[in-house]
């Protein structure tokens, strides 16, 4: 047996190594120097991310349970970059709030485990691997959500997440079992050939879909989102909203575009309805949120609705626009969460009204927040505009003009609430505005990367062209 085959799993292997190193490291690092764990984790993960950019062969392992190709690597790298930014942004928080309780290493281990699960989920070649990846990616996050053990809402978030997740995975399993019943195999490659749109398959598909929709937080499977985001530590909310959601979108896309392609007649209708519902519900709820985390939670629900516009057409164009959008969305949302986190860490304030007059005391943070929100809303020249425009173009290419119309209506609604934040920061003056503070280096670095991303990703067209070429893999 040639072990070099296992190099195909480079992402997983290295990440596993990182996890193990951290666990081992914890043993050797003295209590006084606990902070070194953070630097170590970030450093190691940085290396991991960098290595991820190197090219890797296509191929599959374990009789097709695991497969990889350039597109999947691209996904993984995107997730890596997101997690790296997230680590940078939350480094200070971990140092100040978590390290005191001596639970820093676990945090990283859990986080990386979850990411590890996502790798497998994305790379899965059959439903079993998919299921394991899904669970591995969800369960540690539930633990992380409840990580601030002294806060009631943190525990509440954890319990809500795990119960909902269990429900979702139960439903998804039921669906998978039905699909298994009709197709006779849990291998994707077999399913493609065996599947046909009969009643049982449809039921199985819908149940299975709801399990994934839960992770992407599509309406009506989204209810956990807001509560969990609000209760969890911001780093975890941020993780859930970008990394977890991004990974789920990727795998959903892979499944829909390849495995479940024969059911396109079903799922395009399904996505149509759900897209509309998701956009509207997300936006309408976001309108009146005061808590920034909750606000971003609903905003991320709405964004998920937009993503479906790219998925619905089921071709290379759709895939490329979705990946591009997710990439941009990761940067934008991380920037927004980053600012929220920075402020929360310094002052403990998380309400929109606390942000009043922020520009006059902390101009840079406000500018970053504004750019992030504009990017989320889709205002040129920042990246979000390009992402959204291409999504709409994709949907329109198959004639979904009405859907695009509803989407643009929603863009307008969403602009309203994004502008509410801008209003608080820029337009208002306040006597008890958050005073000026300086962020530590990690946070600044993390925010800087997101800002650069927001500014560059849209205008720099070769990136999109690269993704577009990769997306051919999904045809």
């Amino acid at each position: 047996m040639d072990f070099s085959n296992f190099l195909l799993m480079r992402f997983e292997v290295i990440l596993l190594a990182v996890i193990l190193l951290l666990i081992i490291g914890e043993i050797f690092i003295t209590q006084a120097k606990k902070d070194a764990v953070i630097h170590l984790a970030i450093f190691l993960f940085g290396i991991h991310t960098a290595v991820g950019f190197f090219n890797l062969d296509d191929g599959s392992l374990f009789g097709g349970m695991y497969r990889t190709n350039t597109l999947i690597q691209c996904f993984k790298s995107i997730l890596n970059v997101g997690v790296l930014i997230l680590l940078l942004q939350s480094g200070d928080w971990i140092q100040e709030k978590i390290m005191k309780h001596g639970r820093g290493t676990e945090f990283f281990v859990l986080l990386f485990s979850s990411l590890f699960g996502m790798y497998f989920m994305i790379s899965s070649g059959d439903f079993l691997m998919f299921y394991l990846g899904l669970e591995l990616s969800t369960l540690p996050v539930a633990g992380l959500a409840a990580y601030e053990t002294t806060k009631r809402i943190s525990s509440e978030a954890g319990i809500k997440l795990i119960l909902s997740a269990a429900m979702a995975s139960g439903t998804a399993l039921m669906g998978i079992s039905l699909l298994y019943a009709t197709s006779g195999s849990i291998y994707f490659s077999d399913v493609i050939t065996a599947i046909s749109p009969d009643s049982l398959t449809i039921l199985g598909f819908v149940l299975f879909f709801s399990g994934l929709a839960f992770k992407i937080s599509l309406v009506p499977f989204h209810f956990w989102t807001a509560d969990v985001y609000e209760g969890s530590p911001i780093a975890i909310a941020s993780y859930l909203s970008v990394i977890s959601k991004g990974a789920a979108v990727f795998i959903l896309m892979i499944l829909l575009f390849t495995v479940l392609k024969p059911l396109i007649g079903i799922w395009e209708k399904l996505l149509y309805i759900i897209a509309i519902a998701t956009m509207f519900i997300g936006n309408l709820f976001a309108l009146r949120q005061q808590n920034m985390k909750r606000f971003l939670a609903y905003s991320s629900i709405a964004q998920a609705g937009f993503i479906l516009l790219g998925l619905i057409i089921g071709n290379q164009l759709g895939a490329a626009t979705v990946i591009y959008f997710v990439l941009i969305y990761i940067f934008s949302n991380l920037a927004a969460f980053g600012v929220v986190q920075a402020i929360s860490l310094q002052t403990g304030k998380e309400l929109m009204s606390d942000y009043e007059g922020l520009y006059r005391t902390n101009p840079n943070l406000s500018l970053i927040m504004m750019l992030a929100l504009f990017s989320l809303a889709g205002i040129p020249p920042v990246a979000g505009f390009f992402g959204k425009f291409f999504l709409f173009t994709a949907a329109a290419s198959e004639g979904y003009y009405f859907l695009v119309f509803l989407a643009v209506v929603n863009v307008t609604i969403s602009l309203y609430y994004y502008l509410l934040v801008v209003r608080a920061m820029f337009l208002r003056k306040s006597n008890n505005a958050i005073p000026y503070f300086k962020n530590k280096i990690y946070m600044r670095l993390g925010l800087l990367i997101t800002v650069i991303g927001i500014l560059i990703l849209g205008i720099y067209s070769p990136l999109y062209e690269y993704i577009y070429e990769l997306s051919i893999n999904l045809q």
Binding site: I159, K160, L163, S164, M167, A168, T171, P197, S199, I202, L203, V206, L207, F209, S210, F214, V219, P220, F221, F223, W224, A226, D227, I266, K269, L270, I273, I281, L284, F285, L287, R288, I413, Y416
Partner: protein, 638 residues
């Protein structure tokens, strides 16, 4: 004939305007007065020279007065339609040059005295120059659009000059009224121009007026509501002219316009701008005559005649001397319109046209004189009202004499200028329509009566005692009076018919002695009545006024036309149109837009209960959603 130098006639006032306007603050008042006067003097001399050249040297070829024009494209609309800027020299434009330049020059000179010490002295001369420039442009216009352009410019100069005393509320209102009413008329004018442009493919006067041209020959090619399109156009253009010339029912601005400084009233609202309407109809006379066989001319006639009568009646009862003169102007303008309306085209039939122009010419002289005389009086007693005057002949001999000459001229007493022109009008009317003739004669009598009413009221009548003893005006003011008085006496002897006629071929016009006698007698009767009523202070007039009762009251209130217009403007347009629209906009249009936003936010509030916070509800939504979607797909969409 070389006409290129004529461009300087309007150009000089323009330059003066720009000079005085831009350096308004830096220029000394004394200097600006001289700049204005000498500028205009140059224009006037050139006008006279041009007239001499045209009428006596090179204008007349084989008995026909030639039309000279020089133009350049100013603005392109389509391949055929364009606005030209240029100068058109024909008998009436040359005549108008004389009128405008002479009267304007006199007014400029006069103003140096009249406006002395005023804050806006320089500004005043700037505006006067602007007006003069625009008026020159108007009379020299080569096409409909050019005339419209200058038409608007004289309108705005008039606005600025009426509103010259801008701190006076009444002056502001008057200026606004004048502008808006004439603008309303111009609305018709503009649409008329558009129709002409569309159906004839040209704005050019020479093309339009050519009796053999396609414009006139094809007048019946298209029709709208029973009349041909061109007929409508001419009616609408006449509407523009009627607005500017204060014809009934668009006359209401003219009396109010007397709020302006008196020299302005003399120049704009008596001699020049208000005749623009007459000039417009005269300019397009061939069209008016040939299109629809002169149908529109009937309208012109009746509107003119009615205005003449209407204004003359009102003039009798007014107590503000400038208003009397204003209504008198309106009445005389009606006369001119009437004359145009009854005119024919060829040879002696064109006497109406000729008479109208003739009267325009003489009227400009004596009416300017009347106004300037009135200004001189007002200058002396600081009041416009008859009741504050009386017995002024002792204090102001020159004014007295010149005013008397003007009054005699307007009353049609031979040999003063008015007699000649008015006689021609009556001749023309008599030949065409007896009713119109009788109206004309009656108005002539009324004119004499009201004119001498104010003459006696000012210079004779009761001997008022004055706080400040009135003095004769300075030379700068009396000089123009004397010049104009001289002209009022003499211009009647000009053989107008040899120079001006519709078809540009001169003809012989003779005095019609019976008609002349009738008119003169009627005029003298009017004067005699005025003598009886007003020569000495007595209560006869009041008794008669009571005798007329309601009629007197209506008349002195100008038949409540101001009130009607005010009602329409304020109560209907402001209150019933504008205000509801403004409210509608805020409440419904804007309300809808804001409502959409509020509904969205409201919906958001209503549905917040969905997110109950209970994990079991979430699970229910989850499972119900999945099952319902599954069932829907299985049973409906496969």
């Amino acid at each position: 004939m070389n006409i290129s130098y004529i461009i300087l006639i309007p150009a000089i006032p323009l330059v003066v305007f720009l000079l005085l306007g831009i350096f308004n603050q830096r220029i000394k008042p004394s200097v600006s007065g001289y700049v204005g006067v000498f500028g205009l003097l140059a224009s006037a001399l050139m006008s006279i020279y041009a007239a001499y050249q045209y009428f006596f040297v090179s204008g007349n070829v084989d008995g026909v007065f030639q039309t000279f024009s020089q133009k350049t494209v100013w603005m392109n609309f389509t391949d055929s339609l364009h606005i030209d800027m240029g100068i058109l020299i024909d008998p009436i434009s040359v005549m108008m040059l004389i009128v405008v330049s002479v009267v304007s020059l006199m007014v400029h000179i006069y103003s140096r005295g009249y406006m002395k010490g005023d804050d806006g002295y320089t500004k005043f001369f700037a505006f006067l120059s602007l007006f003069t420039f625009s008026m020159f442009g108007l009379v020299l216009a080569t096409n409909l659009f050019q005339i419209y352009i200058f038409w608007e410019l004289v309108g705005v100069s008039s606005y600025l000059l009426i509103g010259y005393y801008y701190t006076k509320t009444s002056a502001i209102a008057a200026a606004k009224k004048a502008f808006v009413v004439t603008r309303f008329a111009d609305f018709g004018f503009l649409i008329g121009i558009l129709i002409v442009g569309y159906y004839t493919g040209t704005f050019d006067f020479e093309t339009l007026n050519n009796p053999e041209g396609s414009a006139i020959l094809n007048w019946a090619s298209s029709s709208f509501m029973g009349l041909s399109a061109l007929t409508w156009a001419l009616i609408l253009i006449f509407m523009g002219g009627a607005g500017k010339s204060a014809m009934f029912p668009l006359h209401i601005w003219l009396p109010d316009a007397m709020e302006g400084p008196t020299p302005v009233s003399a120049l704009i609202h008596a001699a020049t701008m208000v005749v623009a309407g007459i000039f417009l109809v005269a300019r397009l006379f061939p069209m008016y005559y040939f299109v629809d066989n002169g149908f529109v001319l009937n309208i012109v006639t009746y509107v003119g005649a009615f205005s003449a009568l209407f204004a003359a009646i009102i003039a009798i009862t007014q107590t503000d001397i400038k208003r009397v003169l204003a209504f008198s102007t309106m009445s005389q303008l009606g006369y001119m319109m009437l004359a145009l309306g009854v005119s024919g085209y060829d040879g002696h039939e064109g006497v109406g046209f000729m008479a109208s122009m003739f009267h325009l010419f003489t009227h400009a002289m004596f009416k300017a004189l009347l106004f300037l005389g009135a200004g001189s009086v007002i200058h002396a007693v600081h009041s416009n009202y008859l009741k504050d005057m009386g017995g002024l002949r002792k204090y102001m001999p020159i004014t007295n004499t010149t005013f008397l000459i003007a009054a005699l001229a307007i009353s049609g007493v031979p040999p003063f200028a008015g007699f000649w022109s008015k006689d021609e009008i009556l001749v023309a009317a008599f030949e065409q329509d007896k009713l119109i003739y009788f109206v004309g004669v009656f108005v002539a009598g009324l004119t004499a009566f009201y004119m001498f009413r104010i003459y006696f009221g000012i210079f004779w009548g009761k001997d008022n005692t004055y706080e400040h003893t009135p003095k004769e005006s300075p030379l700068s003011m009396t000089f123009p009076l004397l010049v104009l008085a001289f002209l009022s006496m003499t211009v009647g002897f000009i053989p107008f018919s040899e120079f001006i006629s519709p078809n540009k071929v001169g003809f012989e016009a003779h005095l019609n002695y019976p008609l002349a006698a009738v008119a003169t007698v009627v005029g003298l009767i009017g004067i005699a009545l005025a003598w009886v009523f007003y020569k000495k202070e007595n209560s006869l007039a009041d008794k008669w006024a009571i005798g007329f009762g309601m009629f007197y009251k209506w008349t002195s209130n100008k038949f409540y036309f101001d009130e009607i217009y005010m009602f329409v403007a304020k109560k209907i347009f402001f209150k019933r149109v504008s205000e509801p629209i403004a409210k509608f906009d805020r409440k419904y249009v804007d309300g809808t837009m804001v409502g959409i936003g509020n509904t969205t936010v409201g919906t958001s509030k209503k549905i917040k209960g969905l997110q109950s916070g209970r994990v079991q509800d979430y699970a229910f939504a989850f499972i119900a959603g999945a099952v319902v979607i599954g069932l829907v797909f299985i049973y409906f969409w496969t």
